[in-house]
């Protein structure tokens, strides 16, 4: 009985803290996206001919976000049943946007206004044991044109 109560307690703490942090993070993301809207990102590999003679710089941004206990439990139940893992979708969206924003910050610091060949790489960080609560890391990188 105590096990069950402890389990429910962990889930509640995970849900409450996780959703508060997530909401704040999204608000911060929207704010900074508005601020950095003037820096353009392209997935195209080569810039158009008129931009080819500019200085370039390699810009990156990465972020590591942890999964909270509630998301983890929901995901493991989904793994039994199947279907969209909604909890992780918001997590990945946050991580991607945050990584791109950090890349744009570095770009601004270097005087870059356009970033070409933007790529995203995602990896999961856990201590190696399959059952550990892990984190997800997203790295965004590209070629910035000054």
């Amino acid at each position: 009985m105590q096990d069950l109560l402890f389990f429910l307690l962990l889930i509640s703490v995970g849900y409450v803290s996780g959703s508060v942090i997530e909401r704040r993070h999204f608000a911060s993301i929207r704010e900074r996206e508005a601020e950095l809207r003037h820096i353009l990102t392209f997935s195209a590999k080569t810039p158009p001919p008129e931009d080819c003679h500019r200085e370039s710089a390699f810009v990156t941004g990465n972020v590591v976000i942890s999964v909270d206990y509630f998301k983890h439990i929901t995901a493991t139940l989904r793994n039994l049943i199947g279907g969209r893992v909604i909890a992780y979708e918001t997590l990945m969206d946050r991580a991607r946007r945050e990584a791109i924003l950090r890349m744009k910050f570095e770009a601004r610091a270097k005087g870059v206004t356009r970033i070409f060949n933007v790529k995203l790489e995602t990896s999961s960080i856990s201590k190696g044991r399959a059952n550990q609560i892990g984190s997800v890391e997203v790295l965004a990188y590209g070629t910035g044109l000054i």
Binding site: M1, D3, L4, F7, Y15, S19, E33, A34, R37, H38, L40, P48, E50, F70, K71, H72, I73, T74, T76, L77, R78, N79, L80, I81, R84, I86, A87, E89, T90, D93, A130, N131
Partner: protein
């Protein structure tokens, strides 16, 4: 070249479902699937385990009991006199319950601080000194013994073992696919809850048979309510009994009252225990 970077609505990548609702649906779905599969497996297990011969039960018990020397399931008794006395009583009740000839009941008595009595495989029953000390008369002791013998008569130990074993194997094979031990825990709780329902049914059945035995041997069920008073004194609040294998003591007492209404007692005097038995309260013979 002129580029634009307008603000776009977030609906594309952000899901609109609320995570709590999602979680509730998942838990309900997993719960229903788990309970239905466990019910089917339990029905099969109960049907099949009753065909295991009693002799196999006895040899199983011997194997388990001697498997780890020094850590036997039921250790050697410290007081053979008391054990012999309890055995005599038990044989009397076994006969009253018309226990099949090949099913032998063996009573064990050990010293312990916490009240406990159980019936296990192979007809072995344990009663400990803490429970015996609280029995004020033979009728209360009789209720304990008759209850445990009833478990053996209805073959509850081997059936419960078969149930638990089937569910464990099912969970291991089904959930071995799952990545996380946490979802195993969730399904495990559903399995436990389902098993507890059956365990309580067994207890109710054993209570009923025990009451009938007492009625046959003594003509009344006077010891039963005294036993439940003792249990009510020592166990915890009703909330702790949520995950208990026994039904609530209140409902057991109610069953006794119903039984008395249907089977009026012949005479109500309790029978005294032998004077040399280690008990705290006792009636002078």
């Amino acid at each position: 070249m002129k580029y634009e970077n307008p603000e776009v609505d977030e609906f594309v990548n952000l899901p609109s479902e609320h995570p709590l609702k999602d979680f509730a649906i998942l838990v309900t779905a997993v719960g229903i699937i788990a309970i239905v599969s466990f019910l089917v497996l339990i029905a099969l297990a109960e049907f099949a385990t009753r065909y295991i011969p009693f002799e196999v039960e006895q040899s199983l018990f011997d194997q388990i009991n001697t498997y780890t020397p020094g850590e036997a399931l039921i250790p050697e008794s410290s007081n053979l006199e008391v054990e012999q006395y309890l055995q005599t009583l038990a044989d009397r009740f076994a006969q009253a319950q018309a226990l099949p000839k090949n099913m032998k009941v063996t009573v064990h008595y050990i010293e312990a601080k916490e009240i406990n009595a159980f019936a296990t495989l192979g007809g072995h029953i344990l009663i400990n000194s803490a429970l015996l000390a609280r029995c004020s008369d033979e009728n209360t002791l009789a209720m304990v013994l008759a209850h445990e013998i009833a478990h053996i008569k209805h073959r509850h130990p081997i059936v419960a073992l078969g149930r638990g074993f089937t569910i464990s194997i099912a969970m291991l094979s089904l959930l071995g696919l799952s990545e996380s031990q946490f979802s195993n825990q969730i399904v495990g709780y559903f399995g436990l809850a389902t098993q507890l329902v059956y365990s309580r049914d067994n207890e109710v059945q054993a209570d009923q048979t025990a009451l009938e035995t007492l009625q046959t041997v003594y003509g009344h069920v006077g010891g039963a309510d005294r036993l439940f008073e003792i249990l009510a004194d020592t166990e915890g609040k009703p909330l702790n009994q949520l995950f208990s294998t026994h039904p609530l003591t209140e409902s057991r007492k109610t069953n006794v009252k119903t039984f008395i209404e249907n089977n009026p007692p012949l005479q109500a005097a309790p029978v005294a225990l032998p004077f040399w038995l280690p008990t705290h309260g006792g009636i002078e013979n």
